[in-house]
Symmetry: C2
Subunit: 429 residues, 2 copies
Amino acid sequence: MSKNVIGVGLLGMGTVGRGVYRILTENRSGIEQKVGVPVEIKKILVRDTAKNRGVQLEEGVLTADVDEVINNPDIDIVVEVMGGIKPALPYALKALKNGKSLVTANKDMVAEHGKELFEAAEANNSDLLFEASVAGGIPIIRPLKECLAANRIQQVIGIINGTTNYMLTRMSKEGLDFQTALAEAQALGYAEADPSSDVEGYDAARKLAILASIAFNTRVSLNQVYVEGITRITAEDISYAADLNYVVKLLGIAKESEAGVEVHVHPAMLPKTHPLAPVDDVYNAVFVSGDAVGDVMFFGRGAGELPTASAVVADIMSAARSKLKHVPGLYNCTCFDEKPVKSMGLTSTKYYIRLNVDDRPGVLASIAFVLGNNDVSLASVIQKHTTGQAAEIVLVTHRVLEQNLQDALKIIKELSTVNEIANVIRVEE
Amino acid sequence: MSKNVIGVGLLGMGTVGRGVYRILTENRSGIEQKVGVPVEIKKILVRDTAKNRGVQLEEGVLTADVDEVINNPDIDIVVEVMGGIKPALPYALKALKNGKSLVTANKDMVAEHGKELFEAAEANNSDLLFEASVAGGIPIIRPLKECLAANRIQQVIGIINGTTNYMLTRMSKEGLDFQTALAEAQALGYAEADPSSDVEGYDAARKLAILASIAFNTRVSLNQVYVEGITRITAEDISYAADLNYVVKLLGIAKESEAGVEVHVHPAMLPKTHPLAPVDDVYNAVFVSGDAVGDVMFFGRGAGELPTASAVVADIMSAARSKLKHVPGLYNCTCFDEKPVKSMGLTSTKYYIRLNVDDRPGVLASIAFVLGNNDVSLASVIQKHTTGQAAEIVLVTHRVLEQNLQDALKIIKELSTVNEIANVIRVEE
């Protein structure tokens, strides 16, 4: 029997939920043309059905009873936009078990419980789509799964947290310090009152776990992602970076080579000529290298009501088409392999090191000696800000093994002439 | 009956064909994992079966008989990578009539005969996929059709010709003139002996017709695209552009507003801060604005053996999946509407105008008078290079109607104090 309408149920009516509602309403006719039948919101789960949602809703569409969404025979596609793990995960699993296709924008849930969700989708022959969970409206999940499917993906490097990118842009362009940039981001609504998920890198880590899993066809779990936030980045580091022709970005980096898979989030210096370097403010971008396609980049808004909802509604339309054609699950789990993730000590890159030292002869020599002993060779040295007894030295290494660098730093820290290792920032080229 | 192999036939074994062969061979196991069954090249149509193709081919795979490809029961998917219209089009149509899915990289064929091809695909319930026809390996057709499907697309602006982008980059960075840049591009194999299709803008126009058709859900034919090439761009214009904080690019621009659809290819000045501005050398990028997603951009290599083949093989994999699930045609023609395309005179933008004039008082006033009479207001004026009796004036207008500007220029050309309208370049903001 051919369906003449696709019923949608929303779990949640926050920012993204409202955006989904608005797009499905405002672009209704175009969406119907493309899907073939109308796509209609039947029920929306909210805590308080009396609260004003800022959009005109049909009488009776709001419900506080989850079963009216996930157990509703008129609903083909359940859209989870409530966020968090509980109760989003049990609701999502139950919806899949009931034969609903699931569309979600929930990076926490997908990053931490992707396996359970995919197994439930497979078992019930349903679609599980999550384009909006990474980089908001920017198409990246589907392009990786479909458009770049012919490639062995070698690396994915992303600016996938808008809050920190805004802060680093302000620190870079206006010389703001971290706290001022954070206060500004909070005032603008870009950062939450408790900003730790953004500034500590965890938000980016969840998105990177999802991207890496798809890129390398192996499940990368959140605890396999090495994470370092931007809280120790100073205006001074950014200024040195500029002198060295670099910009500082919070990057999610996932690479696969014969030596294995590596997945890490941390601030990094990028050459000003890198395609990711001009990606400023709240914009996101994902840079992908494949053995056939070479380098491609996807750029746009990584958050916000309508950009995120744009991705959610595209997934709804895709799930609708596969419901209509009775072919759900065409692009579900692609984690065919089980690949180990390298420990951070086994990765290699270039490093920027800023040191406060005593201003006397031989200090640089003693530092260089320790680095050399640990197979860390230097690409450049800047010595600045000499103020009588103290001096600041900035070193940039060649590409070296992280473990060797860490071993060297432990010794350098103990040198009597070294007052402080002020910062160490990776340099991605 | 479930198939246990997907058979592929190639029409043509040039650069892209060889790339397709290499990817299907070298990434065979990953492709099989993703598709579910092996994807095998059964036959390749070539003119000369004895010629060395630079890859190891199985005995008997080459054929000079097109029927061994398009009439072959072992072949599910026909891949047209011969280029041009004849005989590519009749072969493609016959393949579709025989129930084969068709994957093509042929922008000429899709831009000029898309309607026939889509009708044949619909009639025979086959896939027609052409990701590689625009911007090589960069995912753009599928993202527009699927990932951005929830949006009303407002504009698509592309750097979609690598040859001219390379030339303009060299002119901009090294101050080369047009002829020197062209000779360099030819020496590097980026430009053909007859470069007219690239430098006159026709290659970009074909790609833009395809992009606009998908973006606005209406068939835009090649003769509806206004086309101007880069042959009149001088190093001097590029230098003035830099002074004004612009870069010069050959852009394909398609816009839809309430006032209608407009589709044009021409050189244009772009602010240095625009996301397309740093796209240099042979790279391509497509910038898309939608009512929900805002601005997104897709960046990468727009040509070359493996990048283009990356897109072709992704389409092969997609066609294979829909063959296996018996659901071809899931994403075929989306030209639901018939929208007229505005004449160029009804478009509006800012303009850069470079004039050689007599160096005497009142000249600028007389030019400004004519512009004002035609509702063309000025944003800035630069006067330079005064050499005794002659002067050069550069004007930048506000946003004005093209027809008004052209009317004014006709009169300005006849002013006794104006020696030459050296160039007029649109400014896109």
